[in-house]
Amino acid sequence: MAQKRPLEEAQVGEELGPIRYKVSEKLVKKSVELVDEPHPWYLSNSPFGGPIVPPLIIASDYIRAWSVKFFGEEPIHTKAEHHYINPAKVGKELIVTGKVTDRYNKRGRDYLVFETVTKDEDGLEIVRSKNTLLINL
């Protein structure tokens, strides 16, 4: 694997991924431990044919995408947009792809914008996301 570069070196247009990961029951259980009353759809059946993946796991996909290529010291999430298209099913492999789509400086601080798409192993689109990261607090 290529050596990671600092986030400060990310360039607009740089591709991210594809990152592949499988959502296991173990990962789901770890995620729902954060929530006192997890939605029953995460651990048992749902209207979609089996348990579905909690939003916390999917919300982290943009981090999965950039963190294999870049490292950052204390990056701060400042904005997020998610369009949930289909629920991801537990046990399926998810594939995240994306791109660095913008970079700007505001009040002396540098920001990066990442746009990602998550699909499952069958090609079903799960979520489209756009996230902004403050890279130097």
Partner: protein, 142 residues
Amino acid sequence: MNLKPEDLKAGSEIPSLTKDLVEERLTQADGSILLDEDPEKSIYRNVEYARQKGMPGVLIAGVVTMSLISEMLQKAFGERWVKGGKLSVTFINMAFSGDVVTAKAVVKERAPEDPPEYLPLEVWMENQRGEKTIVGSAAVPL
């Protein structure tokens, strides 16, 4: 719960969701682990390191607090949210371990630019001091 978005009017409040941000659990959250390579030097995972940086506790990753808003909307709208819901937020204040946060939402007056096939909501998150930590909007398919 399964609220029907077409039955809701502007001003309708969505049942809120309150969570105690317990440090031990949150330092193991997906978002926290992915953000920092070195758990010892992580404002997301090491409370002592975070305090050295002037923080009252570990910083809670934005994906964690934002996902609580999504949880609230999923509990309220069920399938309608899971297939087609849209969420757009700005993190305006940090949330730390030890905080108690509440995700809230209310149906907005429809603006001309709001797509007619969605119910527009204002969403936000408050901490125990009533300070907003997240502001934004959501749209639930009608």
